[in-house]
Amino acid sequence: MAFDVALCVLVAGLALRLLTTRDLFEAVILFVSFGLALALVWVRIGAVDVALAEVALGAGVTGALLVNARRRLEQKAPEWLEAAHYRPAAAVLPALCGAFAGVAGLVALTAPRAVQPLAPRILERVPDAAATNPVTAVLLDFRAYDTLLEIGVLVAGITAVWALERGRPAVPPAATAEDEPVLAELVRWIVPLTVMTAIYLTWLGAYEPGGAFQAGALLAGAGVLMLASGFLRPYAPHSPVLRTVVAAGLFVFAAAALATVFAEGALLRYPAAGGYVWVLAIEAVLTVSIAAILAEFFVDVPSAPQQASGEQR
């Protein structure tokens, strides 16, 4: 269909420009646009859950992360923006790597599909799982163990970022509505709506596209909006509240896993009666933890404006 071809051309073009441009700010904007165009690809493929996550992350956290990182680089090391850093490596190796990937991909493209695919077998069993949305059923029931480890990855990421940012500067004073009347108005409307939508998406995840990741990423987007506009003061780097919220998702999920091992004889095998409640409870905690972690990535990577940058340390 023409739409799909046009979409693919658009995504491919965006990727090419994104990877070849020498302007960091352009790259940031292109990267966000690339993510949004990709979300349309997911829609066309029929992966609405993925589209939702891509949009929530791409429009909110990812772009903001890059904007911030760019600014900090300019502050700390303006020479990173100079020509020497843009010198490409010898062209042979990249060409080889690209060709290697291309050949591998083409082999994959032309190879026959599985004789006995997994999808029908999974879909057949979804009614026995703890959620009717097949994707949520896979994430929180069939392959819940993966999801548990993945929350571990997020916690590892934020711990790692914290470890790098030891002794980061004091947080800036909060902005007030007088400083930014227009922005304040927007925040006043958007944030409650975002929170409501996030709750809706968390609940919806059991039946339809949605769930903890999407809701968490959306919530994190609102957090980033408030942090960036200065209406939300970041928590002190190692505030017990923040750390507890960050760790809560992993703790609750792992504890549930251990409890089910004892009570039900298998890791994250939910009780026959209340599987749905378990999933919803876990998802609710995960949503909050994921949101806190993603927003905290934003706080930490760039942290607050520094008065005397460059001289510190």
Partner: protein, 92 residues
């Protein structure tokens, strides 16, 4: 009607593709921000149209999320994208 909606979605996509040229051309950062903004609004429209055309309700939720977060990048850019004291000192 489905044909028309699909056609409209394609039109919007081509429209946004053309607009993206502004990202590459710049010349200033605000110009690029604008082009991203165009992508945001049109993206919402495309999602809504596809939701109707493909009869997938969930796409409206995607559009809703899109709309809710439309301002984040611009705010981050304006409030945190500004450049360092270092650059200012060099200029002085």
């Amino acid at each position: 009607m489905s044909m028309a909606l699909h056609g409209f979605a394609l039109f919007l996509l081509l429209n946004v593709t053309a607009g993206l040229v502004r990202i590459a051309r710049g010349p200033t950062a605000p110009d690029r921000m604008l082009a991203a903004q165009l992508f945001g609004t049109t993206g919402v429209a495309i999602l809504l149209v596809l939701a109707e055309a493909l009869d997938v309700r969930a796409l409206r939720d995607v559009a809703l999320v899109f709309a809710l977060l439309a301002a984040v990048l611009a705010v981050a850019f304006v409030k945190r994208g500004r450049v360092s004291d270092h650059a200012r000192r060099n200029r002085a």
